[in-house]
Symmetry: C2
Subunit: 194 residues, 2 copies
DNA sequence: CTGCTTTTTTGACTTTTGTCAAAGCAAGTC
DNA sequence: GACTTGCTTTGACAAAAGTCAAAAAAGCAG
């Protein structure tokens, strides 16, 4: 499908050029799916076998605890979705990935990716560069959480991911920020005054 | 130096085999340094140009704020030390890396590493695998910080990194856990009773 | 052993955040 | 327009953690 190529190639090329042959193998593996709002991409105790590219839509990840669901990540359009801890190690995930809006996804499996790594060394460079990108992303999230108090965390997130506040509910955002919904509400009210 | 080879090769081989030629290039770049306790490996506003391997010793990273220094990472023997955000992007660091015990370090520069990536594709695979390892490590740290309350964080860290409690002061550990030293002290006292 | 310094603990009090419960708002449906 | 249903805000109170100050304990040098 030419549209998949048109969607993904520019993203790859931002990192590193990929040979025609490698591209062909990659796109022959790539699967397109539509996922209606509420679709679960990964369940707890399940091994994450797919790496998704979110062409269109919105998704999030959460961990179920006795008390509540703790939101741990959000994905927007053009993001690569996967539970990296489970995907990289191929051990069961502790988290759930759920689609929050009707979405269009492209995906390949872990095994297919390993074949690509073996067949085309340049794919290792791409994998490394994309991983570097996600490492920096995660480091950024870590930064967010070392911030104190609640209000500063809110401000930082608002600045870093303004889109989030238009797509997620305040309950989900509060959970992600690791503060109660009530505290988030009060923090926002306070904000308006100053 | 044969000793560097003996120290590092087994670690590489755990991930992926490296050709003789690639090894030769790598070890020709590798520099050995001794760093007495208190040595600063990276200062804020400085670009992190080196990737270190901590053969022997103990080191940590902290961010200076108006109020205090916030500890953000610890490294033990056999760890790779670098400020990845600065090293990967080659933009100035916001953190300080300091050696807490007399240490022996091996290191290569960012530019040397790029030469290795270009000259030997297999190095990309190694880079990717090591990065995967550090991603998982960081995800783990993130996990630690999503834990609430203070006592649970302490328990988790105690379980995950018992060595830490023998090498770092409680003040440093409290800062790393993002709780006050007094709270950490009380949490530990509480622990003894039960 | 003795005095010094550094680290850790304890106490009293304050601030921040969480919890529970109820009320307010908004969007969509009949 | 009235009625669900889901999301957000507000209020009252409780719990957790921070701060400041001082005491106790542990390490070290002479």
């Amino acid at each position: 499908m030419t549209t998949k190529r048109a969607d993904l190639l520019p993203i790859f090329e931002k990192f590193i050029p990929i040979s025609e042959a490698a591209q062909d193998m990659f796109f022959s593996f790539l699967m397109e799916t539509t996922a209606p709002k509420g679709t679960i991409l990964l369940k707890p105790r399940q091994i994450c076998t797919r790496l998704y590219f979110l062409k269109e839509g919105f998704a999030y990840q959460y961990r179920c605890t006795e008390k509540a669901n703790i939101v741990t990540y959000f994905w927007f359009e053009q993001d690569f979705i996967t539970n990296l801890p489970s995907f990289l190690t191929q051990i069961p995930s502790t988290e759930t990935i759920e689609v929050l809006d009707d979405s269009i996804l492209y995906s390949i499996t872990y095994d297919q990716l390993q074949l690509l790594y073996q067949a085309y060394p340049e794919f290792n460079a791409l994998g490394r560069l994309i991983l570097e990108h996600y490492y920096l992303e995660l480091a950024n999230v870590g930064d967010l959480f070392s911030t104190y108090p609640a209000k500063s965390r809110y401000d930082k997130l608002l600045q870093q991911k303004p889109q989030l506040f238009q797509q997620a509910t305040l309950g989900q955002i509060a959970s992600y920020l690791n503060i109660s919904q009530e505290t988030l509400s009060r923090v926002r009210a306070q904000k308006e005054i100053s």
